[in-house]
Amino acid sequence: MRKLLMAAALVAFAGNILIGTEPALAADGPTLTAIKKRGELICGVHQGRYGFAIADKKGKWKGLDVDICKAVAAAVLGDGNKVKYIPLGSVQRFPALQSGQVDMLSRTTTITLTRDSALGLNFGPPTFYTGTGFMVRKKLGITKVDQLDGAAICVFPGSTTEKNIAALFKSKGMKMTPVVIENSKELVSAYMAGRCDVLAMDQAGLPGHQQYDAKTPSDHVILDGVYSKEPLAVGVRADDDQWFDITKWVVHALFNAEEWGITQANVDKMKASKDPNVTRLLGATGNLGKKIGLGKSWAYDAIKAVGNYGEVYDRNWGPPLNLARGVNKLWTKGGLMYGFPMK
């Protein structure tokens, strides 16, 4: 039987050479087929977290997670605006992805072993590294987490933060009262109204609430240090390998574009670059896109739509949030962002 299959494969291969077609790649997976047919990418995002995903007054979505959706849409459909954003609560996000309500989840989602395995998901390269941080009122005079014994802490339900805080306080032998509210607006307003002493979430979420939700931002301080590992990444269903590859490599393309100096502004000019890495990425030479089921200009379109990773970061985390890049810098600058080889 095995021999027979081998023979058949050989014949097929020879046939391909003789007729002159390229080696056949796998047909489009179900997700890519559906998106192409629909002409729109459906992306699950946060209901509203400054820097990651927030709808402005006109209902236009902005943020780092949103830009990743746009980059993927541009790579697949050639247009970064062909995205339908579905705002999801932290409890609904996984069922929404599992059931196929969204094509991908770009929603401040931490990669954990359980989510990767038991939830039937796959996670791409982290697009943002953060960790649990704490914001308190300045007049309490608190500078360290050790001073928070007995505090009431506002925290989102079902987030990794909830578990981190429980573990952190237990390890320090301290007590706390979690106030768990599903709706993020309600939760933040509970903290601002003084129901809680502390607002805890991924540290990157805090500057936004400080700037936009506090009456006087300077009344609040964000404590130094992060207390967990929160690599945030794009999640997709585990049953479609090709789609997983696409989301993964779009993110790598953005990292590499920053490393190789390709920006939204110079991407056209860079097509004529002398660096073979650059021309291969932009589709001027070779055809990387075809291997993942996309067109030649997939990476070009993605960069044209949102710029490289550094530009995406600065657009969303520059003023007024002013969150230092820290570990989110490129590996060449001492950070963790490392684009894989595009060959």
Binding site: S90, V91, F94, P95, Q98, T114, R115, S117, A118, L119, G120, D149, G150, A151, A152, P157, G158, S159, E162, K163, I165, A166, A167, F169, K170, M176, T177, P178, V179, V180, I181, E182, N183, E186, L187, S189, A190, A193, G194, R195, D197, R237, A238, D239
Partner: protein, 392 residues
């Protein structure tokens, strides 16, 4: 003649036999239900498998890893999901029980006030009913939650009387320090209640057999309260209070009611109370005026008429719809999820998200609510049988 010998065949067919039909239809229905159940089960399993989602109940014995703000049983993040679910169920039962008690009290008072001959009282009661039952219960809960947030910080807490503090962290009250005598006081309280019940029955028996009226209220109240009070006084009247004190971020000591608990309790109580008030009013108004006029003509006092003529007949109208109000109050307590009260749904949602066991977590929640609801129904049906007018 031949037709007489052979009546129409169809009448004899087994398909038209009543006995056969009775059994067959039930069997068909049962088969359809079993098939539906199996199909749902099969479908869920199939889909979970296809999406590589792990299933099973083993997560219940794993540590939950997260804390909850309040719990009747001690809970710590290293304990299991099973225990945190139990804590959630108890929180739900706790608020439902207190809510049902308060809503009934409020509803009965407002219902009687609505039929009051005092213009102001009846109009105020009408205003309460119309405002509260026409606002969605979600808004009630969020409204009270926002009101409580406007209260001062713990450091500037209001102190209505010595040792009680009201702040945006909730209500802190002094609580008696436990004493060896207290279990005995509780025991005599139970004895007192038992005694009062027996006395009431005896009074009724006498009334029905001799027509002699014996006042019940004061004797039974004094048995209920007096007996434990006597034991307490004889034991040297031990009483010392544990006062809440501001330590660090919040008050410690005494007992505290969290803002979430208070907001949810007030929200579901005033909402359901309005419905119960209407039920009570309709119950009272279902009694024909002639009966009351006749009683007055006999020279009976107003309270006597209420107690022995109006209420016993009104209860049979009041009890069944009130039971469904109790059910909806219990289910409405799940709105705690909106404001952060750790009820069953709040804890279930978090567990669901931590473990990804959506089907299991939701199945647990459904089962618990079903059990609570059926229990309330059974109890209320039992009570309804007690108060129903017996045909003699």
């Amino acid at each position: 003649m031949a037709e007489q010998a052979h009546p129409p065949k169809t009448n004899r067919s087994i398909l038209h036999s009543i006995a056969f039909r009775n059994v067959a239809y039930q069997l068909l229905l049962a088969a359809a239900l079993i098939f539906l159940g199996w199909y749902l089960y099969y479908n869920i399993n199939e889909n979970l498998d296809r999406q590589n989602i792990a299933t099973g109940w083993s997560f219940l014995s794993e540590p939950a890893g997260f804390d909850i703000s309040e719990s009747i049983i001690p809970f710590d993040s290293s304990q299991t999901f099973a225990r945190i679910f139990a804590a959630g169920v108890l929180n739900t039962l706790h608020i439902a029980f207190v809510g049902i008690f308060l809503a009934t009290l409020l509803g009965v008072i407002m219902g009687i006030a609505r039929v009051s001959r005092n213009w102001l009282v009846s109009k105020l009661a009408s205003a309460y009913v119309e405002i509260c039952r026409n606002v969605p219960v979600v808004l009630h809960v969020i409204f009270w939650s926002s009101i409580i947030r406007l209260l001062p910080h713990p450091r500037q807490a209001l102190e209505p009387f010595n040792g009680a503090f009201i702040s945006n962290r909730g209500l802190m009250l002094p609580f008696p320090v436990d004493n060896v005598l207290y279990p005995w006081v509780a025991f005599t309280l139970v004895l007192g209640i038992g005694g009062a019940l027996i006395f009431t029955r005896w009074a009724r028996y006498r009334r029905e057999h001799t027509g002699q009226y014996i006042a019940v209220f004061w004797p039974s109240t004094s048995i209920t309260i007096g007996l434990p009070l006597l034991v307490w006084a004889l034991g040297g009247a031990p009483l010392s209070w544990d006062y809440p004190e501001l330590k660090g971020f919040n008050y410690q000591g005494g007992i505290s009611l969290s803002p979430e608990y208070i907001a949810l309790l007030i929200g579901i109580t005033v909402y359901t109370g309005a419905f119960i008030a209407e039920i009570v009013r309709s119950g009272i108004e279902s009694i024909h005026r002639g009966q009351i006029e006749a009683s007055r003509a006999l020279g009976l006092r107003h309270s006597f008429i209420m107690r022995y003529i109006t209420i016993p007949q009104a209860l049979r109208v009041i009890v069944p719809p009130t039971a469904s109000q109790y059910l909806s109050l219990t289910k409405n307590s799940s709105l705690g999820v909106l404001i952060g009260y750790p009820d069953l749904v709040n804890i279930g949602n978090t567990s669901l998200n931590q473990t990804g066991q959506a089907v299991e977590a939701i199945a647990i929640m459904m089962l618990v609510y079903l059990t609570i609801s059926l229990t309330i129904s059974i109890l209320m049906n039992f009570y309804n049988k007690l108060v129903a007018i017996r045909e003699r």
